[in-house]
Subunit: 874 residues, 2 copies
């Protein structure tokens, strides 16, 4: 029979999959002798069994859990449910991947009225006992019974007000007793039954509740955002309680072994004396910084510091730890690799290599590619910061430059963002319900909470600018205003700027400047480049984009979408004339007017990118996309073309398509109107000749889109070759160019061996390939994809993360067949997936030569490529 | 070095691919000792070489051809270009597949002025010599130089008028001399050079011209229509001339070994004395029927009759022969398997089995599946024929019942048909330029020409109703009217009815009746059913269609498209209400109103089809397809639904999609609105229970459309199973049903192993699969597919004929993977391809269990399946 329950001493850190991250690390720490309260872990497999069994715990597993309790009783010499020597436990979730705050926790489990009475008799700390009891009752109602905490919290608030007290800590033991008893009443009122007095019932219900919380809305959203499979499930950790709320010599805190915002090698954290863990994380009271502990309890501080360094060495990574001090004795309740900002991640990685703690390759694996995003985005200019009207100062919880209109709840932020506005989420403190709003916001500002508060942790995880604990600002919820200490009142929708690097808040919209790659970041990227096999190119049409891409490390252009060059005002006129031409001659006349622009564009691209290759994709979209849709615009066009509006409308109607995505586009245009391909070839080759004459090395690669049959490519390639030959002869100059195609239709993938006869390179157009393979129109699928996520039919957006099983299989088929015909065929990817780390890993695995992505994602792609190379080697 | 030129005695009938049909058969006849004028064949490979060599004959091949002439000189004891003993030859095309009249022929080649003079001296038949010469000149101008025959023909016509003669044959030898000399002048005028006097130049240019004619517009169109690959090329036959225009004892004719219209076992054909072959085929004079020859030249007739029977036995098929009588001596110029009408094909096949000439399997291979089409279409009712106003009588050239508006040229027929009208093409005589118009027409009527005229041959090939040689009607070209001998004047666009079975023409539109399968046809279809492996099902939604399908041999319904059932007036209202419902409850209310209709439909289908299975495909199209588009209709709907028109318009806009083909449809609907799948399941199961209670055996198969991932199917299947279980429990009745899916997305094919976990059957939806694999929108591709055919990028419509290389490969992958998961998975096809013989052959080859097609194509599919089984066995 499978084992479902593991004592901490039975596990180790490599058992994440089975025990979850928290469980595995508690086991590991137990084994290396750290002061960890005893406990056991119910494995992630039980989570699956729970869901397979209609959300009930199978009988045999219930037995095993109660066996676990018996073992724990032996280890602790306490007895679960025994008033004279009660074993109290915490019940916490812990999945394979860290999902901070997403799932539920219950503390102090195992109490009931008679145990409470005996406990008071024995340890003579009535205040502590009732404090623990009232917490248990509320958590149990909330987590297990799904009742809102509201009534409990409001009652507590009212009670404090009636006693004229601000913090819980100021309440007396009698107050606590009264509150605990009131909570029992409230429990009965909201749950419609008595609080269960049997600790075993408490335990089994709590375990189920934790499993259930795996599928609460915020956990699902978090998983979707972070690409965590629904199938993993969570483990449950049952652990003997230790108490930070026993009195002055007790406390609880969280700390990082290094600074998670800057990466500085210093112990960094916060604690609260006489409190339980939840108080710190929830940001209820603003806590003390960890260095204060050195003064308050120097021995404990030093012990903790040593443990932190040891854990870092042991795990070879920066650690995020929870601890509790019970009557002066230190307990470690959790350790995990700490989340950190991008600059911090880079600094820690580089420092640890320099400290000899890790190898360069390990350093590379320590930085998540998407994290770099925040390093690549603009920061405020010095000038703007100097001139700016600073209206507040908080903790620099997560770096970045956030600018937007203020909104006071997540829904408003989402609505505003969906309208295309930039929004800043301003909250007293955030809770897990705010995650989606945070994701949409340009920045997050909270009035309460420290560096480890919910807002700070989540924002850092998202790479989102965040300022916390900004107590010099106040929120007027009713009037939806933010008020500075100078009395300035900012209304909803007014703009502010957040400097996440310093914690400073400014009125209005501050100017920003481009980011640069320098210092530790530059060094790190050098290591990255040494480690990777995949080249990284950029998708770019303009000189500006090409130069940015070069600066960020691009090694060529993977796709220049030539149609983007036709939209400019002075070009679109002739382009439209071309579309509306009645015969080939008129079409050629119009094309000849476009030629000089196109040639100049290509010259600029070649120069910006030399000596790297530039892939030029020929005209792709259906022609009707270039024609106006509104009556007014149509009239204007008819006037400027001097044609009858009716005639123009007829032509527009004629060009209309039912399914333009599968319509008259791609190489189908070049086959219908070879003169377009001729003009584009002229521009490509003439530009190359001009640039070559300046002594610059050019490598144009001509890419024919939407090929589904070798004959299509053969036909267009013949036009290209013929035109190129003629231009080269006329100019007495030879240009080495390549002709290749996009593989973006399933048929092209399946017949890649035939197509490769005419193609010197393939570039996988995975946007369209995903559309055709799934039969999903990218423009329409939004309507049902959300339902697909909700109903767990899809786990992620196949347009963002490559569908390796389906679309990926077509890629593999195409590569195998393509290479069969042409062993050295150049292979790359130019869909959106070229910038997605998971997809890049797949590209590395299937043996592409390069990926291509938008300029700002180039460093991300470089890092992802390096990580993929290292991982495939390991 | 490859051999390019073959003397007739070097070949045989199995060398079709190399020598073309005509060449192979001339060789065969030569070898079995029939009186065939000597000659040689230039192989089809030379055609390819000609095109590869920029439409020039390579030097070495020119040599080889002239070597062929030398060999021919030895055999005939004549000399090419020698005035005293000239060898004259014909140069004719001949491709692997018969393409009657599509390519070019030149007769009498090798003449020039001095040869003409000597010939007259020697054989003392000046009329014949000049007749031959003038023909050569005109044909050479037309075929080799691409000049129009117009001027020549008009000149001849005028000349005859000036001499008051009607037929060429009435012209004297001096007339002929004058005409030949005039033709030389006209030649110079239109070709801008002298007629070439060097026979070798004539020969080589003529050979090139024949190769070139492989790619004339009508040949391309014919190939496209008949699925003949462009790559095959044509051979060229060079043959010693024999003359039917030597005088009264000479003649030329064509004949079939059996009647090609009815299949009667009788020699059937026509001939003209003192004429060359072209005169018969072109329908210039109405020729004599072959039985007249028995009187005129009984010996020749008997010799020909014996040869015909022998050829039939030799080829085991009805023969279509050309012959020439030169001064009383019979020559066979060509034999080939004769084209025939469908009834004739059936009768010949059955008769030949009965005669012991062929096996049943050979009989099956003798009938083309598509031919059956004409047998399955309606004929005029006896009553209508009795009452009808008969306005003319011609030859029953090709059977069928053609009704439509009359038009006097092909263009007008095409235009009218494209507007959706039924059109009848009425012509003096047809020429190859009319083919496209004939294809569009409902029937063809010609005033001149016999049973082997162009119109008759082509119409029979198309299975199109045709009446020829209707000389009691006249055409007034100028006024576009058709005039009966009673003086009735029918204007363009007036309706007539053609009875192709009798040759009778009626005024107006006669009523038709359904065809039945009986007699020889029934017997033949029994043989067919014994031979095939593939089952044949029908696509049907209505009781009527299901009954027709049963009558035509369907063994189940392969797809019932349930959405077709929603369009009826009293249903669409509730269906629209469902679409526009604001919540699940309202949607269910509307669905409940549709349920009884749907249930009744299914009951009728089950009954019509029992004991065979019925596949019910769940709602597939995007919902917006069911909503009105026109302002007026929208208003009416808003009124009847009692909702605000603005609100309705908003909803319509909301539902609109950019690419509906890849939008919110198929199983995506059932996933979004499970209540639709629930209602449909209720209808399926309740109907089955009701029918079963009547003691009828039902086999519903529920088909979920547009599945791309196993989870989609799993989700919908769960709804189906749950609903079915509930209904069955409520009714205390068990129904065996299957749940399966369409494989119509590339992803479904690629992941068929996963999908098969939940699918008891796959039905290949090759319409959508073709769309997605090619990225062709069926509704839009028309715009560029014609260009694709013209530019030879595609050879046939992939929506009509399955793309075996691309789409077919996906089918193979899906079958292999599907069977890996579920060895006995039921496999079928329900796309349009299920009724296409070539595609059915492929379906047989890849091992499907059945094909499904429209009811009227069921017999065609049965025959195609039988042929495929026999061919794969052979």
């Amino acid at each position: 029979m499978a084992k479902n329950v593991y004592l901490f001493k039975e596990g180790n850190k490599d058992m994440r999959e089975l025990l979850g991250g928290k469980g595995a690390n508690l086991a590991e720490m137990t084994c290396i002798g750290l002061p960890v309260p005893s406990g056991f872990t119910i494995s992630t497999e039980v989570c699956k069994k729970y869901y397979d069994n209609q959300q009930k715990l199978p009988q045999d597993i219930q037995h095993e859990i109660l066996e676990g309790i018996k073992n724990l009783e032996k280890i602790t010499n306490k007895k679960f449910g025994d008033p004279t020597n009660p074993l109290l436990v915490s019940v916490r979730s812990g999945s394979r991947a860290s999902m901070p705050g997403m799932m539920d926790t219950i503390l102090n489990l195992g109490m009931n009225d008679s145990i409470v009475e005996e406990m008071i008799k024995i340890n003579q700390n009535k205040r502590f006992v009732y404090d623990s009891y009232r917490r248990l009752i509320m958590m149990f109602a909330d987590v297990v019974k799904g009742a809102s905490k509201d009534k409990f919290e409001k009652h507590l608030e009212k009670y404090k007000q009636s006693k004229n007290k601000k913090y819980d800590i100021e309440l007396t033991e009698d107050d606590m007793e009264k509150i605990a008893k009131d909570f029992k009443e409230i429990y009965k009122e909201v749950v419609k039954e008595d609080f269960p007095s049997d600790p075993k019932v408490q335990l089994l219900e709590a375990v189920c509740a934790v499993f259930k919380s795996w599928n609460n809305a915020r956990a699902i959203y978090y998983r979707k955002m972070n690409g965590i499979p629904d199938s993993w499930g969570t483990a449950v950790n049952v652990q003997e309680m230790v108490y930070g709320n026993l009195g002055k010599n007790s406390g609880t805190g969280v700390a990082f072994s290094r600074n998670p915002a800057t990466g500085e090698n210093e112990l960094y954290g916060e604690y609260l004396m006489n409190a339980q863990g939840e108080d710190v994380v929830a940001g209820v009271r603003t806590p003390q910084t960890i260095d204060k502990l050195a003064e308050e309890l120097p021995e404990v501080y030093n012990q903790f510091k040593t443990i932190a360094k040891n854990l870092e060495k042991h795990y070879k990574d920066m650690q995020d730890m929870e601890f509790t001090i019970e009557n002066g004795k230190l307990y470690i309740l959790q350790t995990r690799n700490g989340k950190r900002t991008a600059p911090s991640a880079i600094k820690i990685a580089v420092d640890m290599v320099n400290e000899g703690l890790i190898s360069k390759e390990e350093a590379i694996l320590m930085v998540e590619p998407t994290q770099l995003d925040s390093l690549l985005h603009p920061t405020f200019t010095k000038e703007a910061l100097n001139k700016g009207n600073k209206i507040g100062q908080g903790l620099a919880a997560s770096p970045g430059a956030g600018v937007g209109k203020i909104y006071f709840n997540a829904q408003d932020v989402i609505a505003s963002s969906k309208k295309g506005e930039d929004a800043i989420l301003v909250r007293l403190e955030t809770s897990p319900e705010d995650i989606e709003g945070m994701n949409y916001a340009q920045g997050v500002l909270t009035i309460r909470g420290g560096m480890t508060s919910h807002a700070a942790v989540v924002a850092r995880g998202m790479g989102k600018c965040c300022i916390c604990g900004c107590e010099n600002l106040t929120i007027d919820e009713k009037n939806k205003t933010l008020i500075t200490k100078d009395g300035l009142v900012l209304k909803e929708q007014e703009e502010i700027s957040l400097n996440g690097n310093t914690g400073e808040i400014y009125q209005g919209k501050l100017a920003k400047t481009e980011a640069t790659i320098s210092g530790d970041f530059e060094l790190f990227m050098q290591w990255v480049d040494e480690a990777r096999n995949l080249k990284v190119r950029a998708n770019a049409e303009t000189k500006k984009d090409a130069l940015v891409a070069r600066k960020l490390g691009a090694e060529g252009i993977g796709i220049c979408r030539t149609e983007h060059m036709f939209f400019e005002e002075n070009r679109i006129f002739n382009f439209r004339k071309m579309i509306l031409a009645e015969d080939e001659q008129k079409r050629e006349e119009a094309l000849n007017k476009i030629l000089p622009y196109q040639r100049k564009d290509f010259e600029e691209l070649y120069k910006a990118m030399a000596p790297y290759p530039v892939i030029i994709r020929y005209l792709d979209p259906p022609l009707h996309e270039f024609l106006p849709k509104e009556e007014k615009e149509i009239k204007a066009l008819a006037d400027s073309l001097k044609i009858d509006i009716k005639q123009l409308k007829n032509r527009i109607t004629e060009l209309k398509e039912f399914n333009p995505m599968m319509g008259h586009r791609g190489c189908r245009l070049a086959i219908t109107y070879p003169e377009i391909a001729k003009m584009q070839t002229k521009a490509v080759i003439e530009a190359a000749i001009n640039v070559k004459k300046e002594g610059i090395n050019v490598k144009p690669e001509i890419m024919i889109p939407l090929v589904g049959d070798e004959k299509e490519l053969e036909f267009v390639k013949a036009i290209v070759d013929e035109t190129a030959k003629q231009i080269m002869q006329e100019n007495n100059c030879t240009i080495k160019y390549m002709v290749g195609t996009m593989i973006e239709l399933p048929r092209a993938a399946i017949l890649a061996d035939e197509i490769a006869k005419h193609a010197e390179f393939f570039s996988f157009g995975t946007n369209d390939l995903t559309q055709m393979t799934y039969g999903f129109s990218r423009d329409d699928a939004g309507k049902f994809l959300n339902i697909y996520y909700n109903k767990k039919i899809l786990e992620s957006d196949p347009f963002a993360k490559l569908d390796q099983k389906g679309v990926g299989e077509l890629l593999k088929i195409a590569i195998e067949k393509g290479r069969k015909t042409r062993a050295n065929i150049e292979l790359g990817i130019c869909g959106e997936h070229g910038g997605d780390p998971a997809s890049i890993q797949f590209c590395n695995q299937i043996g592409l030569d390069y990926v291509s992505c938008s300029p700002y994602r180039v460093p991300i792609a470089r890092l992802a490529a390096a990580r993929a190379a290292i991982e495939s080697k390991n």
